[in-house]
């Protein structure tokens, strides 16, 4: 996409921007106010509210969908514009229930704000009201149609960002607007009203309930109190909640969130988190981020004996086992323990990623992946996802994948062994491939074949790739126009005439074409792939590769790293990885992890002989993420801070460190000590910002710098035929959509169970309960049907650490299993 710098003038102010940017975004970035309700920054303009009417070079345009052109002169306020806007707000106020007092949005309601801003103090329109019912769409979504102003922001965000497309506009059944208003009402207000009178929001599957990932983003973007979280309805008022800026640590996205706290109730004056808010114009949350917030370790107390025991346990420990739900500071403390006391650090969740990144750094010459997800959303129009169950692994990678389809008219290739019914619905040009688990090398070779510049590729690789091409013949049906002579009798004269006509006819024809064996191998339709790919690749200019977690667990992950480094070198593809859940990037950079645990093990939120736990069930309590300060490394390669939202009265890891004589005064004193040689900076915790600017700039912490070395660039090995798993029963280690760890499971609004997930057909075969044998170990699980899965591979979650599923699977994400009905 072209990105030329241009200058436009808005209300006399010169604004620099890029070609193709919408006027509204330019104005917002330059602190010029244009009212708008229905527009969402990273989504397509809806044009429902029409408030953003401005004059550009004398013409009336809507700022949200008019693109800036060089030298454009924009006026945002004039008498006619204000009259139009005021009339629109009057229309929105028609029959809007006067129940601001009880509404959950009052105080932060855009309808209230704009009604006051545009000085609506009288009402000149009226219409008979329609009964609109309040509905609970799902276990978390509450829709009060009476309050809805049908700005369609929820519909837009669900389609353009989240990708579920779970809601749409439906019939309201209201009266038609009186034609007489056509004369008196301003044009836009009348048109908007006509539309408003016809629609409300309904689930798009035609039922009363939405079938979606329950991310709750629709409740966040709702400008009025129509869409709210069920749990929050009428519980508290927005303005009595205290905002604490924080970072969500469930997956590796590290979204910026605000915890909103208040005293619990009259009987219990302890602080409680009531909900989570986000800057929805710049960051979209998933269901775990929004609803899994009440995982705090509430009743922790300082018990000196427990502290003594903990110190003894750590002195005695041979291994500390932990997962990625820890901050960088805590990771650094653990690393210090390793250096001082020689304990082993065992973290199977981050180890595979760390090893993979070591290989990748050696081959590519830098220790971080070169691009980030924001770039993909802004620039790319062709994304390829490999090795990541996009729907479950990392919601933001999925949002980026979907957003490219919707906003950049993009195409996509999705490679994954587990069939997913949602991905193809992201766009018409999304092609999915279900390859055999372990065959990721073949996929990467195919990507090299399709996208790499052959002149840059090593000769050996070019030769190897050419071996996969065969010339084959196929018969195709072609439309041919044939001349046919018909005899027609003229009705009036009775004469017979001969008429020549051209009639289309299907003719079978044999053609030669290039047959790609790699496409066949990864489960694609090799016969028609050339045409499909041509269609996908039409007018595409910027490509991106999302490489996921399966690759880190691949038996030949070193070769995978080589292949990705080669793709990076020989094509102009943007490359991003999906780090495993939690602060895996931070842990893998800070800690020197070991492959195995041995001897007396101290588990931190993990199984062990002595347990430090933020879940309240360990031998000594630790603060949960919402109770402590610290930093984490997020997948956009930044080091971002998180603040404590709730009180914590127990000991922290730093207290144990102090007892051992290697501690600091506060946990956050460790922030400055993060290893500079890994790209961290010497910055105090209190100097780390955590917010967004009006133009969407992410002012959060600091950017991690990449450590460069000489790229080795070894030629990749050939595809290893032994790695592909071909078996009837394969299990995949993957969590349900809103579950990531024990903490999400503890939250009261997350209902996804620890069970075996299977496609509807497979679930029927399996029955209600099964016993799964993985690597000679048994686990009994309930079977839950996931109607968005397809194929025969089943998913086994690892979010409950005590079940220790990760050890069952060992070094792989896929395993051959035997499943027995119980």
């Amino acid at each position: 996409m072209s990105k030329n710098e241009i200058t436009i003038i808005i209300d006399g102010k010169e604004c620099k921007t890029q070609e193709g940017e919408y006027i509204l975004n330019v104005a917002r970035a330059n602190d010029i106010f244009i009212p708008a309700i229905c527009y969402l920054t990273r989504c397509s303009p809806t044009l429902a509210c029409r408030l953003c009417l401005v004059e550009a070079d004398g013409k009336r345009v809507y700022a949200c969908n008019a693109k800036a052109k060089e030298g454009m002169n924009v006026t945002t306020v004039s008498e006619e514009i204000m009259e139009e806007r005021r009339a629109i707000m009057e229309v929105y106020d028609v029959n809007h229930p006067l129940q601001c007092g009880v509404c959950d949005q009052h105080g932060e309601c855009e309808l209230q704000n704009y009604t006051l801003e545009l000085e609506v103090d009288s009402q000149s329109f009226a219409i008979r009201d329609t009964l609109r019912e309040t509905k609970n769409w799902s276990s978390v979504l509450h829709y009060d149609a009476g309050l809805c102003i049908v700005c369609e922001r929820c519909v837009t965000v669900c389609k353009d960002m989240i990708g579920d497309s779970a809601i749409k506009t439906g019939k309201r059944g209201g009266d038609a607007v009186d034609k007489a208003y056509k004369e008196t009402a301003p044009k836009d207000a009348y048109a908007m009203w006509n539309k408003l009178q016809k629609s409300i929001i309904v689930p798009s599957n035609g039922t009363e309930h939405t079938n979606c990932s329950d991310c709750g983003e629709c409740t966040a973007v709702c400008p009025v109190g129509a869409l709210t979280e069920r749990d929050f309805v009428y519980k508290a008022n927005p303005w009595e909640l205290k905002e604490t800026p924080a970072t969500c640590m469930h997956c590796s996205s590290g979204c910026q969130i605000y915890y909103e706290t208040r005293f619990d109730s009259i009987d219990n004056t302890e602080e409680k988190i009531f909900r989570v808010k986000n800057e929805w114009n710049y960051v979209s949350l998933c269901g775990a981020g929004r609803f899994a917030y009440d995982f705090e370790n509430r009743d922790a107390k300082k018990d000196p004996q427990a502290l003594k025991d903990a110190v003894e346990a750590i002195k005695k420990a041979k291994t500390i086992r932990f997962n990625n739900m820890i901050t960088n500071e805590e990771a650094l403390m653990l690393q210090t323990l390793k250096e001082k006391f020689g304990v082993k650090l065992y973290n199977p969740y981050a180890r595979a990623y760390q090893k993979f990144m070591e290989h990748y750094a050696k081959e590519s010459g830098h220790n971080l992946y070169p691009n980030d997800y924001k770039e993909i959303m802004q620039e790319c129009d062709f994304v390829i996802s490999i090795g990541s169950k996009l729907r479950n692994d990392n919601p933001n990678a999925r949002y980026a994948f979907n957003n490219v389809q919707k906003m950049n008219k993009g195409s996509a290739l999705y490679f994954h062994p587990v069939g997913d019914k949602l991905i193809p619905t992201f766009g018409k040009t999304v092609e999915t491939f279900e390859h055999n688990p372990g065959d990721e090398e073949a996929v990467l070779y195919l990507i090299l074949d399709l996208f790499a510049d052959k002149s840059k590729l090593p000769k050996a690789v070019v030769d190897y790739l050419s071996k996969f091409h065969e010339t084959r013949k196929k018969t195709i049906k072609e439309k041919v126009m044939k001349d046919v002579v018909e005899k027609v009798v003229d009705k009036e004269t009775g004469e017979e005439k001969e008429v020549k006509k051209k009639v289309p006819q299907m003719v079978e024809k044999e053609v030669e074409y290039d047959y790609n064996l790699l496409v066949e191998r990864v489960g694609g339709d090799a016969e028609n792939f050339n045409e499909t790919f041509e269609k996908l690749n039409k007018k595409k200019t910027s490509y991106a590769l999302i490489a996921g977690e399966d690759l880190y667990y691949h038996p030949n992950s070193d070769n995978i790293a080589r292949l990705i480094a080669l793709i990076e070198k020989c094509s102009d593809m943007k490359i991003v990885f999906v780090p495993p859940k939690g602060n895996s990037m931070g842990v893998s950079l800070i800690c020197d992890l070991d492959d195995e645990a041995e001897g007396f093990t101290v588990g931190y939120n993990e199984p062990g002989d002595y347990r430090l736990s933020a879940l309240g069930d360990g031998d000594i309590d630790m603060p949960a993420i919402n109770q402590q300060e610290g930093t984490m490394v997020i997948m956009n390669k930044r080091v971002v801070p998180t603040n404590a939202a709730l009180e914590y009265n127990g000991y922290e890891l730093n207290d144990i460190m102090n007892e051992l004589g290697v501690g600091k005064r506060l946990t956050i004193d460790w922030t400055e000590e993060l290893p500079l040689e890994k790209g961290f900076q010497k910055v105090k915790f209190d100097d780390l910002p955590n917010h967004y600017l009006n133009d969407g700039t992410e002012v959060r912490g600091y950017e991690l710098s990449s450590i460069n070395s000489r790229a080795k660039g070894t030629n990749p090995r050939k595809i290893d035929d032994k790695t592909a798993l071909k078996s009837a029963d394969i299990a995949y280690r993957s969590n349900p959509q809103r579950q990531f760890n024990d903490f999400t499971d503890k939250a009261h609004q997350i209902f996804e169970k620890f069970a075996l997930y299977a496609s509807p057909e497979r679930a029927k075969e399996l029955g209600e309960k099964v016993e799964v044998t993985i690597n000679d170990k048994c686990i009994t699980l309930d079977v839950i049907e996931d109607d968005r899965m397809s194929g025969s591979i089943v998913e086994i979650p690892d979010f409950i650490s005590s079940a220790d599923v990760i050890s069952l699977f060992g070094d792989s994400r896929y395993a051959k299993v035997t499943i027995k009905r119980v």
Binding site: Q99, C100, G101, V102, H106, D121, S122, Q123, S124, F125, A126, I127, R128, D129, T134, V233, Y234, K235, A236, N237, W239, E240, E243, T244, P245, F263, S265, I266, D267, N643, A644, L666, D686, P689, N690, H691
Partner: protein, 207 residues
């Protein structure tokens, strides 16, 4: 957003300030000097003059001012702000409070708290409501801010209690249902002005 409050970790450190007072006399001589100073000035008799005058008026001229409280009570102004009352709707008898939380928010003594919930009729229900009269300073903001004229000040001004904290619950303050007929509008703080009908603009309704 300002991050200042998150950076202040000195919880519990108070700011005490010494008052600029004359030092207390310590030696016997100083104490003696103070007594002499005060006696010679005859300050005592300035006060006693008023006392004797009033005593004379009360005893001999029949100008007694004392009200025999608690047997007698003076009428108080309708604008007086005493213990709160919760009003009911006259038609249905349902409490007027909608649970908007404005009184809770505006209360400068931070003595009002309420719990609300989503009830079975899809309405906001006030499940619990308390005022801590030990903290209440009777400023009247709650009555003024109330959009429903639900919380008002009554005339019961005896607020003495045995403990510092003295809570009243919703039920304590609500007009008893059997006295609904006697419930009167409150004319004081936050009441509707006499010319409200003329000032108000009507919303056009199409039915």
């Amino acid at each position: 957003m300002s991050m200042e409050e998150f950076k202040d970790r000195n919880v519990g450190v108070q700011n005490y300030r010494m008052l600029d007072l004359e030092p207390n006399p310590e030696t016997g001589m100083d104490k003696f000097k103070q007594v002499v100073k005060r006696s010679v000035k005859l300050e005592l008799f300035t006060g006693l003059k008023v006392t004797f005058r009033e005593m004379f008026n009360a005893l001999f001229r029949g100008e007694m001012h004392t009200t025999k409280y608690p047997f007698e009570k003076l009428p108080i102004s309708p604008r007086y702000r005493a213990i709160h009352e919760m009003k009911r709707l006259l038609e249905s008898g349902h409490y007027r409070c909608i649970g908007c939380g404005l009184c809770e928010k505006i209360c400068i003594a931070n003595c009002i708290r309420m719990d609300t919930r989503y009830d079975e009729n899809q309405r906001k229900e006030v499940s619990e409501y308390t005022i801590n009269f030990g903290r209440c300073i009777f400023c009247g903001y709650c009555a003024e801010v109330c959009p429903e004229l639900a919380i008002v000040h009554g005339g019961r001004y005896e607020t003495a209690s045995e403990q510092r904290a003295s809570y009243s619950t919703f039920e304590d303050m609500l007009t008893p249902l059997d006295q609904l007929a006697q419930q009167s509008e409150y004319p004081g703080f936050g009441a509707v002005s006499a010319d409200a009908d003329e000032k108000i603009k009507k919303t056009p309704l199409a039915y």
